[in-house]
C-alpha cells in the first residue's frame, strides 16, 4: 500500500512538473507589458482624435471622486488617476479632453464616444461581456461611519473602536471587517439591509455602521447628512475592484491597462488614494 501510494505521489509530482513546464512558455506571450512599451507610444495610439485623449465620466461627477463637478481640474481621486494614466501614456494635460457619458450608457454595448471612462465601475464578469476593463486602479475599502454626535466620531485608530457597538449588513465584507479586523468587545449588530442599518444608526442603536467607501460617501453626503466618515478599515476579504472602462475589444485596452499597472507598481495610485480619499475627503485610515 505504502509503495503504491508513493508511486502515485511521484507520478502526480511528475505530472505537475510536466504541466508547469508545458505552461511556462505560453505564459509569456499574452503579457502586454513587455511589448506594450514600444507600441503604446502616443503617436501610434489609435485614440478617437489622434494626439488627444478623450476621457469620459458622469454628469454630475460626485465628490470625492471629482471636485465640484470639474474633472479638468485634476482634483479628486478619479480625476487625478485619469491624468496620471494620461501622463503615463504620454499625453500632456492640454491633450486631455473630457466628455460626459451617463453611467448606464457607458456600460451598455454599442459605440463609445470616449477612449476610456472613469466612473467607479466595478469590474464584473457580466460587464466584461459588453465592455473592456483596465487593470483595477482602486480596491474598495470598508469604512466606518457614525453620527457627528456619536462617541466614536473623530476617533483615529482601530483600537479606539473596540468599545463601539458596530453594525453591518448580513453576508457582506463589511461584517467581515468588524469581526476580523476591528474585533469590538460588543457583538456586532447585523441587519437584513443597509436601509435597516442606517435607521439603527440614526436612532443611536449602534455607534457606527460599516459600509464600503463609495456607499459611505453617498450616505454621509446625501442620505444622512448629520453622519460623518470615521475612517477606512484595512483591506479584508475579497474587495470590489474599480477599473477604467473601454469599448469592447478596444485597441487601447492593453496600453491603458499597462499604464494603470505601472502606476500601481510605482505606488502612485496608493499616494493618490491617500491624498484624495484619506486626506482631502476625510476618510482617514484606521490602524
Amino acid at each position: 500500500m505504502a509503495s503504491s501510494s508513493r508511486l502515485f505521489a511521484l507520478t502526480l509530482a511528475g505530472a505537475v512538473v510536466a504541466a508547469t513546464a508545458g505552461c511556462a512558455p505560453q505564459k509569456e506571450t499574452p503579457t502586454p507589458n513587455v511589448t506594450a512599451s514600444s507600441s503604446c507610444a502616443k503617436e501610434s495610439l489609435p485614440t478617437r482624435t489622434p494626439g488627444k485623449l478623450t476621457i469620459a465620466t458622469d454628469q454630475p461627477a460626485y465628490e470625492p471622486w471629482f471636485r465640484q463637478d470639474k474633472p479638468d481640474s485634476g482634483e479628486g481621486f478619479e480625476a487625478a488617476v485619469a491624468y496620471a494614466v494620461a501622463e503615463k501614456l504620454g499625453y500632456a494635460r492640454a491633450d486631455v479632453t473630457w466628455t460626459r457619458v451617463k453611467f448606464d450608457a457607458a456600460i451598455a454595448p454599442g459605440p463609445k464616444s470616449f477612449d476610456f471612462d472613469i466612473n467607479q465601475f466595478s469590474i464584473t464578469e457580466e460587464r466584461k461581456q459588453a465592455v473592456d476593463f483596465s487593470a483595477p486602479y482602486y480596491l474598495v475599502r470598508q469604512t466606518v461611519i457614525a453620527l457627528k454626535s456619536s462617541k466614536i466620531a473623530g476617533r483615529t485608530s482601530l483600537a479606539d473602536l473596540r468599545d463601539a457597538r458596530l453594525g453591518a449588513q448580513v453576508g457582506t465584507t463589511s461584517y467581515q471587517a468588524i469581526t476580523e479586523v476591528i474585533k469590538p468587545t460588543a457583538k456586532p449588530q447585523v441587519y437584513n439591509s443597509n436601509d435597516d442599518a442606517k435607521k439603527a444608526l440614526q436612532n443611536g442603536q449602534i455607534d457606527g455602521l460599516v459600509v464600503d467607501l463609495p456607499t459611505a460617501f453617498y450616505i454621509t453626503g446625501a442620505e444622512i447628512t448629520d453622519a460623518t466618515v470615521v475612517g477606512q478599515v484595512p483591506q479584508v476579504g475579497v474587495p470590489e475592484a474599480f477599473g477604467l472602462l473601454l469599448d469592447r475589444n478596444s485597441p487601447l485596452t492593453s496600453c491603458v491597462s499597462g499604464a494603470v499597472g505601472q502606476l500601481s507598481e510605482a505606488g502612485t495610485l496608493r499616494q493618490l488614494e491617500q491624498k484624495w480619499l484619506a486626506q482631502v475627503a476625510g476618510a482617514a485610515e484606521l490602524r
Binding site: T172, K187, Q189, Y191, A200, N203
Partner: protein, 281 residues
Amino acid sequence: MTSLDHLPSEAQLRRSAYRRRQTVYSVLVAASSTAALGTLLVVAVTGAPGWERVRRSFLDLEIARDALPAVLSGLWLNVRLLVCCAAGALLLGLVIAVLRTLRGPIFFPVRALAAGYTYTFRGLPLIIVLYLLTLGVPGLRLQGMPPVLVLGGLALVLTYGGYLAEVFRAGIESVHPSQLAAARSLGLTYRQTMRHVVLPQAVRRVAPPLLNDVVALQKDVGLVSLAGPIDAVRAAQIATAQSFNYTPYVVAGVLFVLLAIPLIAVTDWVTLRSARRQSGG
C-alpha cells in the same frame, strides 16, 4: 382444582393461537412495508443525479462542525427570548381574554379596547410590528429607551398575546353557563367565580392549543434578528455567506427541531390526558 378452573377450552386455544399468528403477521407486514418505503426513499434521494452536489452544499460535516458554536450561541438567544415572551404572551392573553368576557354595559369601553387589540395584532404581520417597535420607537429618542431585545420581545408578546387571548376566550366561553349560575347561587362574587370555577376549567380545556401557539412562537422569536441581534438562523446565514454552503441552515434546523421536541411531547401528553379525563369522566 384452580388449574382446572382456568383450563381454556379447545375453541379458546384456537382463538388465541389465531390471534398470535395475526399479530406476528401484521408486525411482519408493517416491518416490510416500512423497509420498502425507506429503501425507496433512500434510493430516490441518493440516486438522484444532483445528490452529490446537494450533499456537499447542505450536509457537509466539517462546515457543520465549524458553524455549530456560532449557531448554538445564537440559539441561546432564541431560548431566552422564548421563555420571556411565552410567559409574557400567556399572561397578556389571559388578561385580555378576561377583560373581553366582562359583563355589564359599564365595561363596554374595556371590552371594545380588548377586542380592538385582538383584531389589530392578529391581523398585523409580526415583521411589521417588529420593525415599528425595534427601529421606529427608538427613533423617538426618549430617555431610558429599553434595549432592542426588550423592544423586540415586546413586539412578540403583543402579537402572540392577541392569538392567545382568543384561545383563552374560547376556553372561558366553553364553560357551561350553568356553572356560573351555580357558583353565583352559592354566593361567590364574579371574581371568585372566575378564579375558582371558570378559569380552572377553561385553561385545562385550551391547554393543547395554547402550547401549540408556544411551539409556533419558538420559531418566530428569531425574527428579532432583523433589528440587529444575532439569533440561530442569523448565525447560520452569516456562516452560509462566508462558506457559500447551506449546511449551517441545516444545523440550525436540526437544533430547532431538538428544541421543539420536549415542548411538542408535553403538548401531546396534555392533550391525551385531557381527552382521557373527558371520556372517563
